[in-house]
């Protein structure tokens, strides 16, 4: 029998599903309800909790188009993580990107209650399987998102904004703008070294060469700081949740380098300059 599908924000799916203990008539009826409902809505997969049965059971569409039931499924091994863009009827088929594994080794109970094992190497099927196991464990696609992403997704589902994208929502652990700062710091370091050279018995030609370096470095650092500022602005727009991308942080980073550059450049003019 076709059952009504639970849709967001119906919280009645937020239950830990109990194990399927009996594989008699009531189980068969439940599986048939899942198949009827999935067929009616042309779904690739459907968990029992999505139609109001709090049991560890779901169906997946197989390659031949038929549905197969998996009871008490557990993922024993998972490998090859990837970002999976998924849709789910509970969230009105709005795509949400979550981390999944492409290779699974699973156990489940068949229609007789006998434990079976299965290896899944197909990315798409593996992702669906993990999504269904998530439902069994009271975990929706939203729960797989990080808190900031989840808040953004909740707003999007309420019609206020866009769904988060794993690639674009978060401050990356390393940013390309850091390369600018890395080069600036190295240039400043050698400027600092050059300030000590007159203390040693170094020829006028060598000092002249170092003074030239200091002049080039000073100009380069100013250019790099300007480049840093604009690239950082670009990243701030790209990574919306990035706290380190805030303009205050960027200006702070620039001021710190300028505070070093200005005295170094002045000192170089008076100390390193051979003329």
């Amino acid at each position: 029998m076709i059952q009504p599908l639970k849709r967001y924000p119906d919280e009645s799916i937020n239950v830990n599903s109990g194990p399927v203990r009996s594989f008699k008539d009531s189980y068969k009826d439940m599986v048939q309800d899942l198949i009827d409902t999935a067929t009616e809505h042309n779904l690739e997969a459907l968990s029992a909790v999505q139609i109001g049965y709090p049991y560890a059971l779901f169906i997946l569409k197989e390659d031949d188009g038929s549905y197969k039931a998996y009871a008490n499924a557990r993922i024993i091994n998972q490998k090859e993580p990837f970002n999976s863009s998924e849709k789910c009827s509970y969230f009105f088929d709005i795509p949400i990107t979550v981390k999944r594994f492409a290779s699974l080794s699973i156990i489940y109970d068949d229609e007789n209650g006998d434990m079976q094992t299965l290896k899944i190497e197909d990315k798409d099927k593996a992702a669906k399987f993990q999504r269904m196991v998530d439902f069994v464990f009271n975990t929706s696609l939203l729960d797989r998102l990080k808190p900031e992403q989840r808040d953004q997704a909740v707003k999007a589902l309420a019609g206020k904004g866009h769904m988060p994208d794993l690639e674009s929502c978060f401050c990356p652990t390393s940013s390309k703008k850091d390369y600018f700062i890395s080069v600036i710091d190295k240039l400043l370091f050698f400027m600092f070294i050059s300030l000590w050279l007159p203390l040693f018995n170094i020829s006028k030609e060598t000092l002249s060469g170092w003074y030239t370096y200091d002049k080039i470095a000073t100009v380069s650092i100013i250019i790099l700081l300007i480049g840093f500022f604009f690239y950082a602005q670009y990243e701030a727009k790209k990574y919306k949740q990035c706290t380190s991308c805030q303009i205050g942080n960027q200006i702070g980073i620039m001021i710190k380098r300028l505070v070093a550059l200005i005295p170094f450049a002045i000192a170089s003019y008076f100390i390193v300059n051979p003329n």
């Binding site: 830990n16 109990g18 194990p19 024993i76 156990i107 434990m115 290896k119 464990f137 975990t139 989840r150």
Partner: protein
């Protein structure tokens, strides 16, 4: 004057003996037989195992406490039960072998009117080749935190690993050492406390952490999982655990039966039939539990161990031990009185009673190896059962054999557990969990078998504070200091 003998001085035995003595007064005799000189607050052993507590912080001598309470304390291990007496005497007795009090090795017969078996488990290290030394003790390949002495040794080994990790990569493996283990929570606590200490010691980057467990999913905790409240959201313990393990950089192997341990390597079989090996530099693997190996004899000297004890060595009580398929398991299968069905003056409390079946759904690998957590009966349930048994025995002594027997089923009992994930006044964390009932009742609570309003968890600094407070509170209670009876089990 009646004599109650309590075999075992752990949470269940100590609770039974102390409450029984309080209620019976000096009109009757309470004897405790335990091979240990000290009482050990086992939940804090994990902190000894990472050097955050000393052994002295988690143990105290039993003799002065029992002397103060008026309990006859025998530092000895129980060897056999003779519930019908012997030739020429109908008086029931147990035989004991002293392990202390200057009588080491001496044996003695102790007559009883009532007997409570609260021996706890035998740490069955030898069930896994290489985990034990072949003589029932832990082997040299791994460490343990099951006893305070084990934990002291574990910490010394851990410090050696931390020292090495200053210059080279080291691998830490923690979990269960057999497919039929319980106490996953202790291993969970230990791995995260090591990780916490490694960060404090500045060696985290050189340490690789791996969790190996007989659980079929992370967050099962041997009880089928629960809800957790994390950051304002309610999530399953599976998602919570997966997030925590990922956040703390701990990889995992699930549904695993460790079938062999070698120096620096474990061999395991998984529920999907996969065979694997895992190398390690430091491993703490919880052993499976078994009964302590008590024997029982009839009046004519014939062996009646099978009558009194189940095959796993735990004492049979008023449970339904009829073999039946998983779908027919019921809450009513579980014991309510903890009374031996053959000898009504014998009880079992805590881990010592034989559970009728597992709590988790039984599972076997394609090779036929059973891999699933066994029922947890430690901590809070042990104390509650111990107190109920003390009530029953006292009533029987005072009112005769037909007195009311107190009932408390694990299928009607809630339990709380606080699992530490790192010790520190300001940076500690612990997951505080409550489960109701401990044994799922699928008839009363269709679906998970549990009341989801009371099966709940939350992780945070407050959890750590609670665990630390409980440490002092329960040791205070066990020392029978003023007001100890007011502190719940």
């Amino acid at each position: 004057m009646a004599r109650l003998i309590v075999m075992g001085g752990g949470v269940a035995g100590h609770t039974t003996a102390t409450f029984a003595k309080k209620w019976l007064g000096n009109d009757h005799e309470v004897v405790v037989v335990t091979p240990n000189a000290n009482w050990n607050w086992i939940p804090s052993n994990i902190w000894v195992g990472v050097g955050q507590m000393k052994k002295e912080d988690v143990v105290f001598p039993l003799a002065p406490v029992y002397k103060k309470a008026g309990i006859d304390y025998r530092q000895a291990k129980a060897v056999s039960i003779h519930p019908e007496g012997k030739e020429g005497s109908d008086k029931q007795f147990i035989t004991i072998e002293y392990t202390g009090q200057g009588k080491e090795g001496q044996t003695e017969e102790l007559e009883y009117d009532y007997l409570v078996n609260a021996t706890g488990p035998k740490l069955n290290f030898d069930a896994t080749p290489g985990l034990g030394d072949g003589n029932g003790q832990i082997g040299a390949n791994t460490v343990s935190v099951c006893t305070a002495d084990h934990a002291v040794h574990a910490n010394s080994e851990l410090r050696r690993i931390f020292e090495k990790a200053k210059t080279e990569k080291q691998k830490i493996l923690v979990g269960t050492g057999h497919g039929m283990c319980t106490c996953q929570g202790a291993a969970f606590e230990y791995i995260f406390n090591i990780e916490h200490e490694a960060r404090k010691a500045g060696v985290r980057d050189n340490l690789e952490f791996k969790w190996i467990s007989n659980e079929a999913f992370l967050g099962d905790f041997g009880m089928g999982g629960l809800h957790m409240k994390v950051g304002g959201y309610v999530v399953s313990s599976k998602l919570f655990a997966e997030s925590l393990y990922a956040e703390r950089g701990v990889d995992w192997i699930l549904g695993a039966h460790v079938n062999k341990v070698e120096e620096g390597k474990v061999h395991y079989e998984q529920l999907d039939g996969t065979m694997g090996e895992e190398e390690f530099d430091f491993a703490m693997l919880i052993p499976p539990f078994a009964g302590v190996g008590l024997k029982a004899y009839a009046k004519d000297g014939s062996d009646i161990t099978d009558t009194i004890f189940a095959a796993n060595g735990f004492m049979k009580v008023d449970a339904d031990y009829t073999p039946k398929p998983y779908e027919e398991w019921k809450a009513s299968d579980w014991p309510r009185k903890y009374q031996n069905p053959t000898y009504s003056n014998m009880f079992a409390a805590g881990i010592a009673f034989a559970p009728p079946h597992l709590i988790s759904k039984p599972a076997k690998s394609p090779n036929g190896t059973p891999i699933n957590p066994t029922p947890p009966r430690t901590g809070m349930p042990s104390g509650i059962i111990g107190k109920a048994v003390a009530h029953s025995v006292c009533d029987m002594i005072k009112n005769g054999e037909n007195a009311h027997i107190h009932e408390i089923s694990m299928a009607e009992m809630g339990a709380a557990c606080v699992a530490s994930a790192g010790k520190g006044v300001f940076d500690g964390t612990a997951a505080a969990m409550t489960v109701y009932p401990v044994v799922p009742d699928f008839e009363k609570y269709p679906g998970t078998g549990r009341d989801t309003d009371y099966t709940f968890g939350e992780i945070g600094l407050a959890g750590h504070w609670i665990k630390h407070i409980l440490h002092y509170l329960f040791i205070y209670k066990a020392k029978l200091k003023p007001g100890w009876t007011l502190i719940p089990e």
